[in-house]
């Protein structure tokens, strides 16, 4: 990126060299992408969700393509926090990049175990995944009930040694209520949106495209939903927002910042353009040059 422009942003007292992050679950722990992306150039890597013990995830097929997007039902397969700390985190610590660890669980105690294990490990922030549509506690995911969100946020904040980001689901009637609950619980930031629950049926076989039947929709198809929800939340809470959902280009990222995001995560597009996070950054710099914007923070909440 052009050195004359200021791309730094700040969330919960932590400085990021630029607002571009990689969305959880789309970038592993960066290891697989290091051939295509200089991890040192990213604002942050948000890792794939990690749980207290290893999770096998869902049966296959786990993905299906949809118009301008995809459905996934991976089921948060992960090696567990112990392997994650010793291998993935050690790998990421070699780079000059902020590390945000995505934390998942099936019970509050599960989340707390991971949060405790991550204390003092070099993870800069924690992103709490209370919104995976493929893992459920009862009928709803944790993130669909404002009271539960507030309670879980409080409990995590009490034990966390790093700033806490609550990741919100779009699969609710009014996401502002959930954002307020996270803020009331003491969250340092919120990130949104996770995937939108969807389904695909093969009409020739009369079978579900995914073994899990339902999955999370992501990709450019959901970008306008993300813009709207970031906008709504930015006008409801004071804590910073990490915006995500179908970001493919620099323009998409700037759109989310104008709607109110302080930082932006690039997700599904990593899958089909392995160098895309860097491409998004370069395109943002081009727009800044054209619009004569010298400080990237100018974009935050810049819509009128």
């Amino acid at each position: 990126m052009n050195k004359k422009i200021d791309t730094k942003i700040n969330i919960a007292g932590i400085e990021f060299k630029n607002p571009i992050m990689t969305a959880s679950g789309t970038f592993g722990s960066g290891m697989e992408y290091a051939d295509f992306v200089d991890l040192n150039e990213l604002g942050a890597v948000i890792t794939k969700g990690v749980s207290a013990i290893p999770w096998e995830g869902n049966p296959t097929p786990r993905v299906a393509e949809t118009p301008s997007g995809m459905l996934n039902a991976i089921g948060l397969q992960n090696p567990g926090v112990e392997v994650f700390i010793n291998r993935d985190l050690e790998f990421l610590k070699q780079f000059d990049v902020r590390i945000i660890v995505n934390v998942c669980g099936k019970t509050i105690e599960d989340y707390l175990k991971v949060v405790r294990a991550l204390a003092g490990t070099g993870a800069d922030m924690l992103e709490i995944n209370i919104s995976c549509p493929n893992v459920k506690a009862g009928a709803l995911s944790f993130g669909q009930e404002p009271k539960v969100v507030e309670e879980i946020t409080k409990k995590i904040k009490k034990e966390a040694k790093q700033p806490v980001i609550m990741k919100l689901t779009p699969n609710v009637t009014d996401i502002r209520e959930i954002a307020k609950a996270a803020e009331a619980g003491g969250a340092d930031a919120i990130s949104l949106i996770n995937t939108i629950t969807g389904m695909k049926i093969d009409i020739w076989k009369r079978k579900f495209a995914l073994a899990n039947k339902t999955g999370g929709l992501s990709g450019p198809a959901i970008h306008p939903v993300a813009v709207r929800m970031v906008y709504d939340c930015a006008r409801t809470v004071k804590i910073p927002i990490i915006g995500m959902g179908g970001v493919e280009s620099g323009e998409d990222a700037i759109e989310l910042m104008l709607a109110g995001a302080t930082a932006v995560a690039v997700g599904t597009s990593n899958f089909y353009r392995p160098d895309n996070a860097i491409r998004v950054l370069d395109e943002m710099a081009e727009v800044m040059e054209k619009q004569e914007v010298s400080d990237i923070k100018e974009f935050i909440n810049g819509v009128s």
Partner: protein, 258 residues
């Protein structure tokens, strides 16, 4: 770790080799230079609503000319593969590869078994393996790439309908009737065929390498979509799942469970 390249390839030629089946030769120097038999590439459509790369096995490659040959079936109208079939010479397309582990090289009395579209990665394998080879190919109704395979070993062909002097039935039945024994077996094809090959190889106490297929998104081991069940806990995933795109697509038959 083997290097992978994200490059813009140029179309050298395209031809139709059977109904809905195309052969595409691409100029992709880096990938051609490091490709191994059994590896694959992701080919990204230009279509704005089709985002994911299509995994296509590398059928053949030419280091000197920097080209790779891909064979694929067009899966329908408005699909990525339909788009690929419309390419002309000098058209450009983004590709990622070479992906996956590829077939390990072995010697001895070798049997190569392919079913349907699964025969494509076996052409490069047949070409690379030295020594005595039997190549067994199973098709539904239409036979393709026969002449190419014929150069590299003794052929056994089976079809559902028994056309053009082929064995009528499935390819594993054909091999049982033939009754020969093999030391190393390589196979790629539909899952029911692979299951039958696994049994056939066990009966013969042959070393057996199977190339699997699964829906995937990233092709490089990050999305964890394309896993298969493994017998033991995998060193990377730390669960009984192996990534088809990374630890595979080729596995020793005893490592995996169907």
């Amino acid at each position: 770790m083997a290097e992978q390249f994200y490059e813009t390839a140029k179309v050298i030629s395209k031809e139709i080799i059977a109904k809905d089946i195309y052969k595409l030769v691409l100029k992709a120097d880096k990938i051609a230079n490091s490709a191994k038999a059994g590896q694959f590439v992701l080919v990204y459509p230009h279509l704005s609503d089709k985002k994911l790369g299509r995994p296509i096995s590398i059928c053949d490659w030419d280091k000197d000319n920097g080209t790779i040959t891909l064979c694929y079936r067009v899966t329908g109208e408005n699909t990525g593969t339909r788009e690929f079939s419309s390419y002309c010479e000098n058209d450009e397309v983004r590709i990622l590869g070479p992906l996956g582990n590829g077939f390990p090289m072995a010697d001895g009395n070798i049997l190569i078994i392919g079913g349907g579209l699964g025969i494509f990665p076996l052409l490069g394998l047949s070409k690379t393996l030295t020594g005595k080879k039997t190549i067994a190919l199973g098709f539904r109704e239409e036979i393709f790439l026969m002449r190419d395979f014929n150069e590299y070993g003794d052929l056994i062909v089976a079809t559902e309908t028994g056309i053009t002097d082929s064995f009528k039935g499935n390819i594993v039945q054909a091999l049982r009737e033939e009754g020969n024994r093999y030391e190393v077996i390589y196979a790629c094809g539909p899952t029911p065929m692979l299951k039958a090959v696994k049994e056939f190889a066990a009966e013969q106490s042959a070393i057996c390498y199977l190339s699997l297929e699964e829906r995937m998104a990233c092709g490089i081991g990050a999305c964890l979509a394309c896993v298969c069940k493994s017998k033991e806990i995998d060193g990377h995933t730390n669960v009984k799942n192996k990534r088809v795109c990374k630890e595979g697509p080729v596995f020793e038959a005893h490592e995996i469970e169907f």
